[in-house]
Protein backbone atom coordinates (compact mmCIF):
# COMPACT_ATOMS: atom_id res chain seq x y z
CA UNK A 1 0.00 0.00 0.00
CA UNK A 2 1.84 3.09 -1.13
CA UNK A 3 1.49 6.25 0.82
CA UNK A 4 2.09 9.75 -0.40
CA UNK A 5 3.63 12.75 1.33
CA UNK A 6 1.24 15.65 1.67
CA UNK A 7 3.41 17.79 -0.62
CA UNK A 8 4.86 16.62 -3.93
CA UNK A 9 6.87 13.46 -4.09
CA UNK A 10 10.32 13.80 -5.60
CA UNK A 11 13.64 15.33 -4.69
CA UNK A 12 13.71 18.28 -2.38
CA UNK A 13 15.72 21.11 -3.97
CA UNK A 14 17.18 21.99 -0.70
CA UNK A 15 16.14 23.75 2.39
CA UNK A 16 19.22 25.95 2.17
CA UNK A 17 18.17 27.29 -1.18
CA UNK A 18 14.71 28.01 0.10
CA UNK A 19 15.94 29.76 3.21
CA UNK A 20 18.39 31.95 1.36
CA UNK A 21 15.55 32.98 -0.94
CA UNK A 22 13.67 33.98 2.20
CA UNK A 23 16.68 35.96 3.26
CA UNK A 24 18.12 33.72 5.90
CA UNK A 25 21.03 31.33 5.94
CA UNK A 26 20.52 27.95 7.52
CA UNK A 27 23.21 27.50 10.12
CA UNK A 28 24.82 24.12 10.41
CA UNK A 29 23.56 23.70 13.92
CA UNK A 30 19.94 24.44 13.10
CA UNK A 31 17.66 22.22 15.05
CA UNK A 32 14.32 20.83 14.01
CA UNK A 33 12.69 24.29 14.07
CA UNK A 34 13.87 27.18 11.90
CA UNK A 35 12.46 30.66 12.42
CA UNK A 36 12.56 33.27 9.67
CA UNK A 37 11.35 36.83 9.75
CA UNK A 38 9.58 37.87 6.58
CA UNK A 39 8.76 41.51 6.00
CA UNK A 40 5.06 42.24 5.50
CA UNK A 41 5.33 43.19 1.81
CA UNK A 42 7.31 40.02 1.05
CA UNK A 43 4.85 37.71 2.76
CA UNK A 44 2.73 36.80 -0.25
CA UNK A 45 5.73 35.79 -2.34
CA UNK A 46 7.12 33.78 0.56
CA UNK A 47 3.84 31.94 1.01
CA UNK A 48 3.69 31.08 -2.70
CA UNK A 49 7.27 29.87 -2.58
CA UNK A 50 6.66 27.72 0.47
CA UNK A 51 3.38 26.31 -0.78
CA UNK A 52 5.24 25.08 -3.86
CA UNK A 53 8.14 23.58 -1.89
CA UNK A 54 8.03 19.79 -2.11
CA UNK A 55 6.89 18.16 1.06
CA UNK A 56 5.75 21.43 2.66
CA UNK A 57 2.43 21.82 4.35
CA UNK A 58 0.98 24.78 6.17
CA UNK A 59 0.46 23.41 9.66
CA UNK A 60 -0.82 26.48 11.52
CA UNK A 61 -1.34 30.23 11.25
CA UNK A 62 -1.72 32.45 14.29
CA UNK A 63 -0.98 35.96 15.48
CA UNK A 64 0.40 37.63 18.56
CA UNK A 65 0.92 41.16 19.79
CA UNK A 66 -1.62 43.75 18.73
CA UNK A 67 -2.38 44.85 22.27
CA UNK A 68 -4.60 47.90 21.76
CA UNK A 69 -3.41 49.38 25.04
CA UNK A 70 0.20 49.53 23.87
CA UNK A 71 1.03 52.11 21.27
CA UNK A 72 2.82 50.72 18.29
CA UNK A 73 2.30 47.11 19.34
CA UNK A 74 1.78 45.69 15.88
CA UNK A 75 0.33 42.31 15.22
CA UNK A 76 2.88 39.65 14.33
CA UNK A 77 1.50 37.01 11.98
CA UNK A 78 3.17 33.62 12.30
CA UNK A 79 2.92 30.73 9.88
CA UNK A 80 4.10 27.28 10.89
CA UNK A 81 5.11 25.13 7.94
CA UNK A 82 5.80 21.43 8.27
CA UNK A 83 8.69 20.65 5.92
CA UNK A 84 8.05 16.98 6.38
CA UNK A 85 10.61 15.69 3.87
CA UNK A 86 13.35 17.65 5.64
CA UNK A 87 12.11 16.73 9.10
CA UNK A 88 11.86 20.37 10.09
CA UNK A 89 9.32 22.98 11.00
CA UNK A 90 9.71 26.45 9.54
CA UNK A 91 8.10 29.32 11.42
CA UNK A 92 7.82 32.62 9.57
CA UNK A 93 6.91 35.75 11.44
CA UNK A 94 5.77 38.98 9.83
CA UNK A 95 4.86 42.29 11.37
CA UNK A 96 1.51 43.47 10.02
CA UNK A 97 1.22 47.17 10.38
CA UNK A 98 -2.21 47.89 9.02
CA UNK A 99 -5.40 45.93 9.11
CA UNK A 100 -4.71 43.81 6.04
CA UNK A 101 -2.32 41.06 5.13
CA UNK A 102 -1.96 38.97 1.97
CA UNK A 103 -4.63 36.43 1.15
CA UNK A 104 -3.31 33.11 2.45
CA UNK A 105 -6.22 30.77 1.88
CA UNK A 106 -6.20 31.29 -1.88
CA UNK A 107 -2.70 29.86 -1.95
CA UNK A 108 -3.05 27.42 0.94
CA UNK A 109 -6.76 26.67 1.57
CA UNK A 110 -5.87 25.06 4.88
CA UNK A 111 -5.45 28.58 6.27
CA UNK A 112 -9.08 29.72 5.94
CA UNK A 113 -10.17 28.65 9.41
CA UNK A 114 -7.17 30.36 10.96
CA UNK A 115 -7.77 33.56 8.95
CA UNK A 116 -11.26 33.68 10.45
CA UNK A 117 -9.93 33.09 13.95
CA UNK A 118 -7.25 35.77 13.58
CA UNK A 119 -9.88 38.25 12.43
CA UNK A 120 -11.99 37.62 15.55
CA UNK A 121 -9.06 37.79 17.94
CA UNK A 122 -6.86 40.49 16.37
CA UNK A 123 -9.07 42.47 14.01
CA UNK A 124 -6.84 42.02 10.96
CA UNK A 125 -8.02 40.35 7.78
CA UNK A 126 -6.63 39.17 4.46
CA UNK A 127 -6.78 41.31 1.33
CA UNK A 128 -9.52 40.64 -1.14
CA UNK A 129 -12.60 41.04 1.02
CA UNK A 130 -13.54 37.36 1.10
CA UNK A 131 -16.24 36.93 3.75
CA UNK A 132 -14.99 35.40 6.96
CA UNK A 133 -17.00 33.06 9.17
CA UNK A 134 -17.41 33.06 12.91
CA UNK A 135 -15.28 30.20 14.16
CA UNK A 136 -13.88 31.13 17.56
CA UNK A 137 -15.90 33.45 19.79
CA UNK A 138 -19.64 33.38 20.43
CA UNK A 139 -21.65 36.37 19.24
CA UNK A 140 -22.37 39.11 21.71
CA UNK A 141 -25.58 37.90 23.30
CA UNK A 142 -26.76 40.99 25.09
CA UNK A 143 -25.68 44.16 26.86
CA UNK A 144 -22.59 43.94 28.96
CA UNK A 145 -18.89 43.96 28.27
CA UNK A 146 -17.66 42.38 25.05
CA UNK A 147 -15.61 39.19 25.31
CA UNK A 148 -11.92 39.90 25.74
CA UNK A 149 -9.71 39.23 22.72
CA UNK A 150 -6.08 38.31 22.41
CA UNK A 151 -5.53 41.53 20.45
CA UNK A 152 -8.02 44.06 19.16
CA UNK A 153 -11.65 43.23 18.49
CA UNK A 154 -12.63 43.47 14.83
CA UNK A 155 -14.50 46.57 13.66
CA UNK A 156 -17.32 44.46 12.20
CA UNK A 157 -18.40 41.02 13.32
CA UNK A 158 -17.66 38.18 10.91
CA UNK A 159 -20.02 37.86 7.97
CA UNK A 160 -20.94 34.19 8.41
CA UNK A 161 -21.47 33.16 4.86
CA UNK A 162 -21.78 29.58 3.76
CA UNK A 163 -21.54 28.41 0.19
CA UNK A 164 -24.80 28.66 -1.77
CA UNK A 165 -26.33 25.33 -2.68
CA UNK A 166 -28.16 24.37 -5.81
CA UNK A 167 -29.98 21.11 -5.71
CA UNK A 168 -32.81 19.63 -7.70
CA UNK A 169 -36.04 20.09 -5.83
CA UNK A 170 -36.19 21.98 -2.56
CA UNK A 171 -33.46 22.12 -0.02
CA UNK A 172 -34.03 23.37 3.48
CA UNK A 173 -31.71 24.07 6.29
CA UNK A 174 -32.26 22.64 9.69
CA UNK A 175 -30.34 23.63 12.76
CA UNK A 176 -29.31 20.81 15.05
CA UNK A 177 -27.78 21.40 18.46
CA UNK A 178 -25.87 22.61 20.35
CA UNK A 179 -27.61 20.30 22.83
CA UNK A 180 -27.56 16.97 20.98
CA UNK A 181 -27.67 13.29 21.87
CA UNK A 182 -27.05 12.19 25.40
CA UNK A 183 -23.44 11.87 26.49
CA UNK A 184 -21.89 13.81 23.61
CA UNK A 185 -20.43 17.29 23.61
CA UNK A 186 -22.41 20.36 22.63
CA UNK A 187 -22.05 21.19 18.94
CA UNK A 188 -24.26 22.93 16.42
CA UNK A 189 -24.73 21.57 12.92
CA UNK A 190 -26.41 23.48 10.15
CA UNK A 191 -27.79 20.64 8.05
CA UNK A 192 -28.86 21.44 4.53
CA UNK A 193 -30.96 18.68 3.13
CA UNK A 194 -33.55 17.94 0.52
CA UNK A 195 -35.07 15.22 2.69
CA UNK A 196 -32.69 12.47 3.61
CA UNK A 197 -29.57 13.26 1.64
CA UNK A 198 -27.03 15.66 3.11
CA UNK A 199 -26.55 18.49 0.66
CA UNK A 200 -24.35 20.49 2.96
CA UNK A 201 -23.33 20.51 6.56
CA UNK A 202 -21.58 23.28 8.40
CA UNK A 203 -20.62 23.52 12.03
CA UNK A 204 -20.68 26.30 14.57
CA UNK A 205 -17.84 25.45 16.88
CA UNK A 206 -17.86 28.47 19.14
CA UNK A 207 -20.28 27.37 21.85
CA UNK A 208 -17.53 25.93 24.03
CA UNK A 209 -15.07 28.78 23.71
CA UNK A 210 -13.48 29.09 27.13
CA UNK A 211 -10.73 31.59 26.29
CA UNK A 212 -7.92 29.17 27.16
CA UNK A 213 -5.19 31.01 25.26
CA UNK A 214 -6.33 34.29 26.81
CA UNK A 215 -6.29 32.76 30.27
CA UNK A 216 -2.77 31.38 29.93
CA UNK A 217 -1.15 34.79 29.64
CA UNK A 218 0.84 35.80 32.70
CA UNK A 219 1.02 32.24 33.98
CA UNK A 220 4.14 30.16 34.35
CA UNK A 221 4.35 27.18 31.99
CA UNK A 222 3.78 24.77 34.88
CA UNK A 223 0.63 26.58 35.99
CA UNK A 224 -0.59 26.80 32.40
CA UNK A 225 -0.02 23.07 31.80
CA UNK A 226 -2.93 22.33 34.14
CA UNK A 227 -5.23 24.22 31.77
CA UNK A 228 -3.65 22.81 28.63
CA UNK A 229 -4.48 19.27 29.77
CA UNK A 230 -8.06 20.29 30.45
CA UNK A 231 -8.53 22.02 27.11
CA UNK A 232 -9.16 18.67 25.44
CA UNK A 233 -9.26 16.07 28.20
CA UNK A 234 -9.29 13.12 25.79
CA UNK A 235 -6.02 14.45 24.37
CA UNK A 236 -4.35 15.56 27.59
CA UNK A 237 -1.04 13.84 26.92
CA UNK A 238 -0.83 14.96 23.28
CA UNK A 239 -1.61 18.58 24.07
CA UNK A 240 0.44 18.52 27.27
CA UNK A 241 3.47 17.11 25.47
CA UNK A 242 3.28 19.65 22.65
CA UNK A 243 2.97 22.50 25.14
CA UNK A 244 5.70 21.21 27.46
CA UNK A 245 8.01 20.75 24.48
CA UNK A 246 7.32 24.33 23.38
CA UNK A 247 8.10 25.64 26.87
CA UNK A 248 11.22 23.47 27.08
CA UNK A 249 12.42 24.84 23.75
CA UNK A 250 11.79 28.36 24.99
CA UNK A 251 13.65 27.70 28.26
CA UNK A 252 16.47 25.65 26.76
CA UNK A 253 15.60 22.59 28.84
CA UNK A 254 16.19 18.98 27.78
CA UNK A 255 14.19 16.30 29.61
CA UNK A 256 16.02 13.10 30.56
CA UNK A 257 15.68 10.07 28.27
CA UNK A 258 13.75 7.91 30.68
CA UNK A 259 11.21 10.70 31.17
CA UNK A 260 10.74 11.06 27.42
CA UNK A 261 10.12 7.34 27.14
CA UNK A 262 7.59 7.64 29.98
CA UNK A 263 5.86 10.42 28.04
CA UNK A 264 5.76 8.21 24.99
CA UNK A 265 4.26 5.32 26.96
CA UNK A 266 1.54 7.70 28.16
CA UNK A 267 0.96 9.03 24.63
CA UNK A 268 0.61 5.52 23.21
CA UNK A 269 -1.78 4.55 26.02
CA UNK A 270 -3.82 7.63 25.15
CA UNK A 271 -3.88 6.55 21.51
CA UNK A 272 -5.01 3.07 22.53
CA UNK A 273 -7.93 4.15 24.68
CA UNK A 274 -9.11 6.72 22.15
CA UNK A 275 -9.13 4.15 19.37
CA UNK A 276 -11.06 1.76 21.63
CA UNK A 277 -13.55 4.53 22.38
CA UNK A 278 -13.90 5.26 18.66
CA UNK A 279 -14.61 1.57 18.05
CA UNK A 280 -17.35 1.63 20.67
CA UNK A 281 -18.81 4.79 19.14
CA UNK A 282 -18.76 3.19 15.69
CA UNK A 283 -20.71 0.22 17.02
CA UNK A 284 -23.19 2.49 18.75
CA UNK A 285 -23.71 4.55 15.60
CA UNK A 286 -24.40 1.43 13.55
CA UNK A 287 -26.75 -0.01 16.17
CA UNK A 288 -24.56 -2.98 17.01
CA UNK A 289 -25.06 -3.13 20.78
CA UNK A 290 -23.09 -6.32 21.34
CA UNK A 291 -20.06 -4.94 19.52
CA UNK A 292 -20.40 -1.74 21.47
CA UNK A 293 -20.39 -3.65 24.74
CA UNK A 294 -17.30 -5.59 23.71
CA UNK A 295 -15.44 -2.42 22.73
CA UNK A 296 -16.51 -0.75 25.97
CA UNK A 297 -15.09 -3.63 27.97
CA UNK A 298 -11.79 -3.07 26.20
CA UNK A 299 -12.02 0.70 26.80
CA UNK A 300 -12.74 0.31 30.50
CA UNK A 301 -9.85 -2.11 30.91
CA UNK A 302 -7.54 0.36 29.18
CA UNK A 303 -8.70 3.25 31.38
CA UNK A 304 -8.16 1.16 34.51
CA UNK A 305 -4.74 0.31 33.15
CA UNK A 306 -4.01 4.05 32.83
CA UNK A 307 -5.00 4.52 36.47
CA UNK A 308 -2.82 1.61 37.57
CA UNK A 309 0.15 2.68 35.48
CA UNK A 310 0.07 6.47 35.81
CA UNK A 311 -2.43 7.29 38.55
CA UNK A 312 -5.22 8.79 36.43
CA UNK A 313 -7.71 7.20 34.03
CA UNK A 314 -7.18 9.97 31.48
CA UNK A 315 -3.45 10.44 32.16
CA UNK A 316 -3.83 13.97 33.55
CA UNK A 317 -0.84 15.16 35.51
CA UNK A 318 1.74 12.92 33.84
CA UNK A 319 3.54 15.39 31.56
CA UNK A 320 5.46 18.15 33.32
CA UNK A 321 7.72 20.96 32.15
CA UNK A 322 11.12 19.31 31.91
CA UNK A 323 9.95 15.72 32.05
CA UNK A 324 7.21 13.72 33.69
CA UNK A 325 5.82 13.90 37.21
CA UNK A 326 4.99 10.22 37.46
CA UNK A 327 6.56 7.28 35.76
CA UNK A 328 4.66 4.23 34.59
CA UNK A 329 4.21 1.24 36.83
CA UNK A 330 5.91 -1.13 34.39
CA UNK A 331 4.84 -4.24 36.27
CA UNK A 332 1.18 -3.33 36.09
CA UNK A 333 1.53 -2.41 32.42
CA UNK A 334 3.21 -5.64 31.41
CA UNK A 335 0.65 -7.63 33.36
CA UNK A 336 -2.51 -5.89 32.16
CA UNK A 337 -1.83 -4.51 28.71
CA UNK A 338 -1.91 -7.79 26.76
CA UNK A 339 -5.34 -8.67 28.15
CA UNK A 340 -6.80 -5.20 27.65
CA UNK A 341 -5.47 -4.94 24.09
CA UNK A 342 -6.59 -8.51 23.46
CA UNK A 343 -10.17 -7.50 24.24
CA UNK A 344 -9.95 -4.73 21.64
CA UNK A 345 -8.29 -6.99 19.09
CA UNK A 346 -10.91 -9.73 19.48
CA UNK A 347 -13.77 -7.24 19.29
CA UNK A 348 -12.27 -5.69 16.15
CA UNK A 349 -11.73 -9.08 14.50
CA UNK A 350 -15.32 -10.04 15.19
CA UNK A 351 -16.55 -6.68 13.88
CA UNK A 352 -14.61 -6.98 10.64
CA UNK A 353 -16.15 -10.43 10.17
CA UNK A 354 -19.67 -9.04 10.67
CA UNK A 355 -21.00 -8.12 7.23
CA UNK A 356 -23.89 -6.02 8.44
CA UNK A 357 -21.41 -3.82 10.27
CA UNK A 358 -18.81 -3.58 7.51
CA UNK A 359 -21.53 -2.72 4.98
CA UNK A 360 -22.41 0.41 6.95
CA UNK A 361 -18.79 1.52 6.93
CA UNK A 362 -17.78 0.89 3.35
CA UNK A 363 -18.07 3.87 1.00
CA UNK A 364 -19.53 6.00 3.81
CA UNK A 365 -18.11 9.40 4.59
CA UNK A 366 -15.46 9.43 1.91
CA UNK A 367 -12.78 12.08 2.22
CA UNK A 368 -10.56 12.18 -0.84
CA UNK A 369 -6.82 12.46 -0.64
CA UNK A 370 -6.95 15.71 -2.59
CA UNK A 371 -9.40 17.21 -0.09
CA UNK A 372 -7.33 16.00 2.84
CA UNK A 373 -4.22 17.64 1.45
CA UNK A 374 -6.01 20.85 0.57
CA UNK A 375 -7.62 21.19 3.99
CA UNK A 376 -4.46 20.32 5.91
CA UNK A 377 -5.99 17.25 7.56
CA UNK A 378 -3.77 15.33 9.98
CA UNK A 379 -3.81 12.06 11.87
CA UNK A 380 -5.62 8.79 11.13
CA UNK A 381 -8.19 10.65 9.03
CA UNK A 382 -5.43 11.82 6.68
CA UNK A 383 -3.63 8.49 6.74
CA UNK A 384 -6.84 6.74 5.70
CA UNK A 385 -6.81 8.72 2.45
CA UNK A 386 -3.28 7.59 1.64
CA UNK A 387 -1.31 10.55 3.01
CA UNK A 388 1.70 9.36 5.00
CA UNK A 389 1.72 12.10 7.61
CA UNK A 390 2.74 11.23 11.17
CA UNK A 391 4.95 13.55 13.22
CA UNK A 392 6.48 10.59 15.04
CA UNK A 393 8.12 9.72 11.73
CA UNK A 394 8.26 13.14 10.05
CA UNK A 395 9.57 15.19 12.98
CA UNK A 396 11.06 12.56 15.22
CA UNK A 397 11.83 13.81 18.68
CA UNK A 398 13.00 11.65 21.57
CA UNK A 399 12.14 8.86 22.05
CA UNK A 400 10.82 8.23 18.53
CA UNK A 401 14.05 9.29 16.85
CA UNK A 402 15.81 6.23 15.56
CA UNK A 403 12.85 4.04 16.48
CA UNK A 404 11.39 2.24 13.46
CA UNK A 405 7.73 3.04 13.14
CA UNK A 406 5.19 1.45 10.84
CA UNK A 407 2.95 4.34 9.76
CA UNK A 408 -0.51 2.93 9.17
CA UNK A 409 -2.28 3.84 5.96
CA UNK A 410 -5.22 3.04 3.73
CA UNK A 411 -6.46 4.30 0.41
CA UNK A 412 -10.22 4.54 0.27
CA UNK A 413 -10.73 7.43 2.72
CA UNK A 414 -14.04 6.06 3.96
CA UNK A 415 -15.17 5.11 7.46
CA UNK A 416 -13.85 1.58 7.04
CA UNK A 417 -10.42 2.88 6.07
CA UNK A 418 -10.27 5.12 9.14
CA UNK A 419 -11.31 2.21 11.35
CA UNK A 420 -8.64 -0.03 9.87
CA UNK A 421 -5.97 2.65 10.31
CA UNK A 422 -6.93 3.02 13.97
CA UNK A 423 -6.68 -0.73 14.52
CA UNK A 424 -3.27 -0.88 12.86
CA UNK A 425 -2.10 2.03 15.01
CA UNK A 426 -3.34 0.33 18.15
CA UNK A 427 -1.23 -2.73 17.38
CA UNK A 428 1.79 -0.54 16.75
CA UNK A 429 1.18 1.34 20.03
CA UNK A 430 1.32 -1.89 22.00
CA UNK A 431 4.60 -2.77 20.35
CA UNK A 432 6.05 0.69 21.05
CA UNK A 433 5.01 0.57 24.71
CA UNK A 434 6.87 -2.71 25.07
CA UNK A 435 10.00 -1.22 23.51
CA UNK A 436 9.95 1.91 25.66
CA UNK A 437 9.46 -0.08 28.83
CA UNK A 438 12.31 -2.33 27.81
CA UNK A 439 14.61 0.67 27.38
CA UNK A 440 13.52 2.07 30.74
CA UNK A 441 10.76 4.57 31.31
CA UNK A 442 10.46 6.40 34.61
CA UNK A 443 9.71 9.67 36.31
CA UNK A 444 12.18 12.46 36.16
CA UNK A 445 12.54 16.13 35.64
CA UNK A 446 15.60 17.65 34.14
CA UNK A 447 15.43 20.42 36.70
CA UNK A 448 13.23 21.02 39.65
CA UNK A 449 10.22 23.24 39.04
CA UNK A 450 11.76 25.78 41.39
CA UNK A 451 14.87 25.84 39.24
CA UNK A 452 12.90 26.58 36.10
CA UNK A 453 10.49 29.05 37.65
CA UNK A 454 11.41 32.63 36.99
CA UNK A 455 13.94 31.82 34.29
CA UNK A 456 13.70 34.12 31.30
CA UNK A 457 12.72 32.38 28.10
CA UNK A 458 12.21 33.22 24.49
CA UNK A 459 9.80 31.36 22.26
CA UNK A 460 9.47 27.75 21.27
CA UNK A 461 7.45 25.36 19.14
CA UNK A 462 6.37 21.93 20.37
CA UNK A 463 4.55 19.04 18.73
CA UNK A 464 3.25 15.54 19.37
CA UNK A 465 1.31 12.94 17.38
CA UNK A 466 -1.83 12.76 19.49
CA UNK A 467 -4.45 10.10 18.81
CA UNK A 468 -6.25 12.55 16.51
CA UNK A 469 -3.12 13.72 14.71
CA UNK A 470 -0.48 16.43 14.93
CA UNK A 471 -0.92 18.59 18.03
CA UNK A 472 1.08 21.82 17.90
CA UNK A 473 1.87 24.42 20.53
CA UNK A 474 3.90 27.62 20.46
CA UNK A 475 4.77 29.71 23.46
CA UNK A 476 6.52 33.02 24.09
CA UNK A 477 7.88 33.76 27.56
CA UNK A 478 8.91 37.07 29.09
CA UNK A 479 11.92 37.96 31.16
CA UNK A 480 10.58 36.26 34.26
CA UNK A 481 9.46 33.10 32.51
CA UNK A 482 5.77 33.96 32.31
CA UNK A 483 3.71 33.43 29.21
CA UNK A 484 3.09 36.41 26.95
CA UNK A 485 1.46 34.34 24.21
CA UNK A 486 0.53 30.67 24.10
CA UNK A 487 -0.88 29.07 20.99
CA UNK A 488 -2.56 25.66 21.26
CA UNK A 489 -3.49 23.84 18.07
CA UNK A 490 -4.88 20.38 18.81
CA UNK A 491 -5.53 18.17 15.79
CA UNK A 492 -9.29 18.71 16.15
CA UNK A 493 -8.84 22.31 14.94
CA UNK A 494 -7.71 20.97 11.59
CA UNK A 495 -9.86 17.91 11.18
CA UNK A 496 -13.37 19.22 11.82
CA UNK A 497 -13.28 20.91 8.43
CA UNK A 498 -12.71 17.49 6.88
CA UNK A 499 -15.87 16.31 8.62
CA UNK A 500 -18.05 18.72 6.61
CA UNK A 501 -16.47 17.43 3.44
CA UNK A 502 -16.85 13.79 4.36
CA UNK A 503 -20.55 14.19 5.19
CA UNK A 504 -21.56 15.73 1.90
CA UNK A 505 -22.71 13.78 -1.12
CA UNK A 506 -24.15 10.30 -1.11
CA UNK A 507 -24.58 10.29 2.66
CA UNK A 508 -27.84 10.37 4.59
CA UNK A 509 -28.71 11.52 8.09
CA UNK A 510 -28.06 8.22 9.77
CA UNK A 511 -24.55 8.25 8.38
CA UNK A 512 -23.62 11.37 10.32
CA UNK A 513 -22.99 9.66 13.68
CA UNK A 514 -21.03 6.93 11.91
CA UNK A 515 -18.81 9.50 10.20
CA UNK A 516 -18.43 11.46 13.41
CA UNK A 517 -17.34 8.32 15.27
CA UNK A 518 -14.79 7.51 12.57
CA UNK A 519 -13.24 10.97 12.89
CA UNK A 520 -13.30 10.73 16.71
CA UNK A 521 -12.53 14.39 17.28
CA UNK A 522 -13.63 16.57 20.18
CA UNK A 523 -15.43 19.88 20.15
CA UNK A 524 -13.36 20.97 23.14
CA UNK A 525 -10.20 20.59 21.06
CA UNK A 526 -11.31 23.18 18.55
CA UNK A 527 -13.50 25.41 20.70
CA UNK A 528 -11.03 26.43 23.38
Amino acid sequence: MTAVRPGLAGEAPGLHGLLSELGRDAAAGDGPVVTVSVAGPDLEAAVRRLAAFPGARLADVFASGGNPAIRGDHVVLRLVWGLDSDQRYLVTDSVIEGERYPQLSDIAPAAFHEECEIYEQFGIRPEGGKPLNRVALPPQSGPGPALPRLGRAPAEPPAEVHAPHVVGGHAFEFPFGPVRQVGVESLYYGLVTSGEEIVDLYLFTWHKHRGVEWRMRGRTPREALFHVERTEGLGAVGAGWAFAAAAEAALGVDPPGQAMRARAVALELERLYNHAAATAALCQSTGLAVGQAAAEIALERLLRLNAAAFGHRYLFGVVDIGGVRRGPDATALRRELPGAYGELRHAADALLATNSFVDRLEATGILTQEAARRLGIVGPVARATGLATDVRADHPAEPYAGCPLAVAGAQSGDVLARFQVMLAEAAESVRLIGEFLQAGAGPGLTESPEGIAGRAGRSGLGWAESSRGEALAWVALDGSGRITRARLRPASVRNWRGFDDACRSQNVFTDIPIIEASFWLTVAGTSR
Binding site: V290, H312, R313
Partner: protein, 113 residues
Protein backbone atom coordinates in the same frame (compact mmCIF):
# COMPACT_ATOMS: atom_id res chain seq x y z
CA UNK B 1 -24.07 -13.79 16.10
CA UNK B 2 -23.01 -17.13 17.62
CA UNK B 3 -19.50 -15.72 17.57
CA UNK B 4 -20.39 -12.90 19.94
CA UNK B 5 -22.61 -15.04 22.15
CA UNK B 6 -19.92 -17.67 22.69
CA UNK B 7 -17.31 -15.05 23.52
CA UNK B 8 -19.61 -13.32 25.95
CA UNK B 9 -20.33 -16.56 27.77
CA UNK B 10 -16.64 -17.38 27.95
CA UNK B 11 -15.72 -14.02 29.41
CA UNK B 12 -18.41 -14.00 32.05
CA UNK B 13 -19.86 -11.07 33.92
CA UNK B 14 -17.69 -7.99 34.39
CA UNK B 15 -20.34 -5.77 35.95
CA UNK B 16 -19.40 -4.15 39.23
CA UNK B 17 -21.39 -5.07 42.35
CA UNK B 18 -21.22 -1.45 43.49
CA UNK B 19 -22.98 -0.20 45.61
CA UNK B 20 -23.82 -3.56 47.18
CA UNK B 21 -20.12 -4.41 47.40
CA UNK B 22 -17.06 -2.14 47.16
CA UNK B 23 -15.28 -2.19 43.82
CA UNK B 24 -11.54 -2.95 43.98
CA UNK B 25 -10.79 -0.67 41.02
CA UNK B 26 -11.64 2.29 43.26
CA UNK B 27 -8.34 1.81 45.06
CA UNK B 28 -6.42 3.13 42.06
CA UNK B 29 -8.43 6.30 41.53
CA UNK B 30 -6.89 9.67 42.35
CA UNK B 31 -8.57 11.26 45.37
CA UNK B 32 -8.62 14.66 47.06
CA UNK B 33 -6.01 15.34 49.76
CA UNK B 34 -6.20 14.83 53.50
CA UNK B 35 -4.25 17.32 55.58
CA UNK B 36 -2.34 16.90 58.83
CA UNK B 37 -3.28 19.93 60.93
CA UNK B 38 -0.31 19.33 63.23
CA UNK B 39 2.06 19.79 60.29
CA UNK B 40 0.44 22.82 58.67
CA UNK B 41 2.03 26.13 59.47
CA UNK B 42 0.72 29.38 58.02
CA UNK B 43 3.68 29.54 55.67
CA UNK B 44 3.11 26.03 54.41
CA UNK B 45 -0.60 26.68 54.02
CA UNK B 46 0.13 29.77 51.94
CA UNK B 47 2.49 27.78 49.75
CA UNK B 48 -0.18 25.12 49.22
CA UNK B 49 -2.73 27.79 48.30
CA UNK B 50 -0.35 29.15 45.65
CA UNK B 51 0.41 25.68 44.28
CA UNK B 52 -3.23 24.67 43.83
CA UNK B 53 -4.17 25.35 40.19
CA UNK B 54 -7.91 25.05 40.78
CA UNK B 55 -8.55 27.57 43.58
CA UNK B 56 -9.52 24.81 45.97
CA UNK B 57 -7.32 26.13 48.80
CA UNK B 58 -7.45 29.50 50.52
CA UNK B 59 -6.23 30.54 53.94
CA UNK B 60 -8.32 32.56 56.32
CA UNK B 61 -6.42 33.40 59.49
CA UNK B 62 -5.46 30.08 61.07
CA UNK B 63 -7.86 28.04 58.99
CA UNK B 64 -7.12 26.44 55.65
CA UNK B 65 -10.33 26.43 53.65
CA UNK B 66 -10.52 23.45 51.30
CA UNK B 67 -13.22 23.36 48.63
CA UNK B 68 -13.58 19.67 47.78
CA UNK B 69 -15.82 20.54 44.84
CA UNK B 70 -13.12 22.62 43.15
CA UNK B 71 -10.44 19.98 43.79
CA UNK B 72 -9.31 18.00 40.76
CA UNK B 73 -7.10 15.57 42.77
CA UNK B 74 -4.14 16.69 40.65
CA UNK B 75 -1.76 15.97 43.54
CA UNK B 76 0.32 19.15 43.36
CA UNK B 77 -0.33 19.99 47.01
CA UNK B 78 0.73 16.49 47.98
CA UNK B 79 3.95 16.79 46.00
CA UNK B 80 4.70 20.17 47.55
CA UNK B 81 4.35 18.88 51.13
CA UNK B 82 4.28 15.08 51.34
CA UNK B 83 4.67 15.11 55.11
CA UNK B 84 1.59 17.27 55.61
CA UNK B 85 -0.65 16.10 52.77
CA UNK B 86 -1.66 12.58 51.78
CA UNK B 87 -4.37 11.11 49.57
CA UNK B 88 -7.68 10.82 51.38
CA UNK B 89 -8.77 7.70 49.48
CA UNK B 90 -12.31 9.07 49.30
CA UNK B 91 -14.15 9.04 45.98
CA UNK B 92 -17.79 9.02 47.12
CA UNK B 93 -17.96 12.76 47.35
CA UNK B 94 -21.42 13.73 46.09
CA UNK B 95 -23.11 16.40 48.19
CA UNK B 96 -26.65 17.73 48.36
CA UNK B 97 -25.50 21.06 49.73
CA UNK B 98 -22.43 22.84 48.37
CA UNK B 99 -21.59 23.99 51.87
CA UNK B 100 -20.86 20.37 52.79
CA UNK B 101 -17.97 20.45 50.32
CA UNK B 102 -16.18 23.34 52.02
CA UNK B 103 -13.88 22.08 54.74
CA UNK B 104 -12.09 24.11 57.39
CA UNK B 105 -8.72 22.68 58.35
CA UNK B 106 -7.16 24.19 61.47
CA UNK B 107 -3.56 25.29 61.15
CA UNK B 108 -0.79 25.50 63.69
CA UNK B 109 -1.43 28.99 64.99
CA UNK B 110 0.89 31.55 66.46
CA UNK B 111 0.83 29.81 69.83
CA UNK B 112 1.26 26.31 68.46
CA UNK B 113 0.76 23.47 70.86
Amino acid sequence: MPLWFARGLRRGVVTTRYPARPDPSAAELPTPPAFRPDALTRELADRLCRVCPSWALTRNGDVLIFDVGACTACGRCREAAPAAVTASGEFELAATDPAHLVKRIPLLGEGAR
